[in-house]
Symmetry: C3
Subunit: 115 residues, 3 copies
């Protein structure tokens, strides 16, 4: 079973495919001057792009881990999530609050998907 | 390879099956008035139920992520975990302390299992 | 599809193999008197050993989750990570800061790999 990697940098691949499963690295917003809903929208748009690189899409999501910097902002994250997720095909999900890479980073999302 | 989803709500599936692997969403206790050991017992009972919906059980667990709200209560979590886990077939595991969905939520557990 | 487990203790397996994927439990440093870079080096050496037990190696890593106790020390973790990772075959990655098992534990890493 071959492994296909996309968008490698010095520390990680942004996408890895193996045995019909696509793993997407933790994504954060590029513009961190905005609030939780907008950052989540940016993250989800990036995930769409990475899933497309591996020939799949959000309707085939398997599992998601959502890291937020502040649990009180989970409703704003959920607003963006619910507008984006395929209601007929949502992944499993866990959402926990942690310290993220920079103080301005409000959300980081990790997903895997079937291909 | 088909994807089977169980117990969908507006944001997630509680269980997703794909390619012989069953993913279970993060589960927390419904009764959060009780302590760590009791909350963990509730979570593990819910996991048993979700695994059964996908036709598998705890003897086929692959990996578990345990999020606790307070690391000093890890021993109480472990007490419930050790009484529950199949000693001949335990999954890999990581346990970290984070902020969970509500202040009363003491533990959230994510697992996947073979089918 | 069979499940192979290695290095079981009362709560977990350190390695589980299933369907061509190797899951490695969260690993921490044994000597916690040292700093972030050195603890990360210890963790990565342990991961090498566990991957070898399952007949695979770091060139086949799929995904990694890195938990650090203090985000300000992420650069020191990355120094060890970058020296270790196969630059042609890096996994996807997420790095978040959480409370780890003991105050002296600076880093815990979870990976899976293809076999």
């Amino acid at each position: 079973m071959s492994i296909n990697r996309h968008d490698l940098n010095e520390t990680m691949s942004k996408v890895v495919e193996h045995n019909g499963v696509v793993y997407v690295a933790g994504n954060t917003a590029d513009d961190r001057s905005v609030g939780m809903k907008e950052q989540t929208e940016q993250v989800l748009a990036k995930i769409d792009g990475f899933l497309a690189k591996a020939g799949t899409d959000k309707s085939k999501l398997l599992a998601a881990t959502i890291y937020v910097s502040d649990m009180s902002q989970k409703p704003a994250m959920n607003e963006a999530w619910s507008a984006w997720v395929d209601r007929d095909n949502p992944p499993t999900r866990a959402c926990v609050a942690v310290e993220l890479g920079t103080p301005e980073t409000l959300v980081e999302i990790v997903v895997n998907a079937a291909k």
